[in-house]
Symmetry: C2
Subunit: 340 residues, 2 copies
Amino acid sequence: MATIREVSKRAGVSIATVSRVVNGNQKVVEATRQKVLKAMSELGYEPNSFARSLATNKSETIGMVVGELAGPFFGEMMQFAERVIRDEGKHLIITSGHASLAEERDAIEFLLKRRCDALILHLDLMPDAEILKRVDDESTPIILVNRLVPELAGQCIYLDNEAGGCLATQHLIERGHRRIACITGPLYKSDARDRLTGYRNALKMADIPFDDQLVVEGDYLEQGGEAALERLFRRDARFTGLVAGNDLMAIGVIKALRRNGLKVPDDCSVVGYDDVVMAGYIEPGLTTVRVPIEQFGAEAGRLALNLGEGLSFKVQHLFQPTLIERASTRFLDANDDESS
Amino acid sequence: MATIREVSKRAGVSIATVSRVVNGNQKVVEATRQKVLKAMSELGYEPNSFARSLATNKSETIGMVVGELAGPFFGEMMQFAERVIRDEGKHLIITSGHASLAEERDAIEFLLKRRCDALILHLDLMPDAEILKRVDDESTPIILVNRLVPELAGQCIYLDNEAGGCLATQHLIERGHRRIACITGPLYKSDARDRLTGYRNALKMADIPFDDQLVVEGDYLEQGGEAALERLFRRDARFTGLVAGNDLMAIGVIKALRRNGLKVPDDCSVVGYDDVVMAGYIEPGLTTVRVPIEQFGAEAGRLALNLGEGLSFKVQHLFQPTLIERASTRFLDANDDESS
DNA sequence: TATCGTTATGTAACCGGTTACATGACATTG
DNA sequence: CAATGTCATGTAACCGGTTACATAACGATA
């Protein structure tokens, strides 16, 4: 593998001149430039990225931590982030937090050691306080996706989850439902709390009294959705519609309803949240709140490039959810009443 | 950020000694070692990975090219590969080939520039010859996943696709089907050809004559599955069962059958291939050939570590498919005959 | 006690770039 | 024509590690 010195010798110039040609940021007379380019291509020269990074203290690399590498949600986010970042000739290193706080910390350390120019973090478990401390301690810019830490709003890409929770609930209210159950995500997560607040707001706007017997805390997992539904049944809660904190739980709910001999949407309308790929494939198609995950990825990538590489893309931080209507919700007929 | 010289000064030793302590490969007297460790932790020293890579010409990084970062197939592969690689303290850089030959080339160049210690490639479009040439030219070890290039068998992790195609077909034959349609993947891909060969073998073993009117070439996409089915219909082909080259096409087929007023499995049994997550969620659950994608990921990771980092894991190269029976296939009754 | 071998540690060259500063060629100006 | 400024290019220090080789300290042996 050719070095810059070999190129300089062959072109009959100094290494500094070769460096200038390679980086194209300083003036070099055209004739010299051509000599250098010729020598470079003859030798098949490729600059050594380690040497460059050592000298410049820049890695041209963005690090990313996701919850799971598998799973539709993260896949699309990575896909779009990588696009944006590679288009600028930078690299994306992805690591997984594997859904545990220790692993999240580990993944971050791992990327910091690599001296990434910026970090895009999708953290499920790390509390705000710890994130803030890290941001203070480290000089590496940190971008947070799908999460709003108020003190760090300028570094966050997030969804208006209150609006999303409201949207899902209003969809059912508009279709005549008044007894609407809610299976939330884990309430230590702000997005789960926000979605619940949206649910309450929608009820209030429709003058439907809030009934805490209709609310259960879930865990964002499919099994958790089933379990939450069982809990509602045990309470003898009566409802004609249900909003789930995410699609996975909604899918669990639909399965559990079916197991109990109930049909969706005939006996109960169900709304999900996220619009994962599967939502369009299950039976019935899941009505859900769409999170623009591709845009999350792309914008997080751009923000990382801005903060870490000194570029200046325009970045949208706050996104609004939209409702995707499929077949899991229906209008309540005049003669329908409460179902279990 | 502290450097090795600062640590050496603080500990009152030379930089070489610090380096020895950090790498732990040469003898250092325990008392000295402790002094160095103390200085290191007091200064919060982290070795600069660029400097190290520059000196050793090793990056401690494995590069990976996948077709798409999104999508269930690749997600799981990445997940398991990353696990294995990170457990050894190495890094995984993932880039996407974005389903185009130019992008596959680009992705490889990209990783080579980074001087990865080994490359794990999931290449859809690059022909064998080009891969062989690259392997010859580059000194970086290359691992191929889900693909067998005969000359490079020791660097491949692959499935017995002939057995898989046979398995899917036999499943239908055992259930009384004799007119079995086959929608293949793109036949320039060896896996698609192998699966087709498996289909033919199964027929031969059951003394069912091969009928090329029952075979259509597809493209491994959902839409392509629908289109392929339409083509079978236009031929007036009659069959009671169908094996698809992958799950996506099988899903397309099921949709198209339903659009034509036919029920699965009542009017036609359908077998997929891959066992993607969705296969378990669609209605009816898809009977399919399971590709052990997690193992592909893990083994590819281990092989990369062996070849690129000098480790010596035991690696399994060839995997056998298994059949997952769900609800999209059924026994043919005595009174059933040909459908559409 | 002189000599030798062993072994922990130090010295310095090297990896391959970037870049501040020096240099020298040439044009411009009084 | 000397002085000055401009600008392309060269020189060399530096980034922060690794490691071959040199060195010094010490114990063993004759």
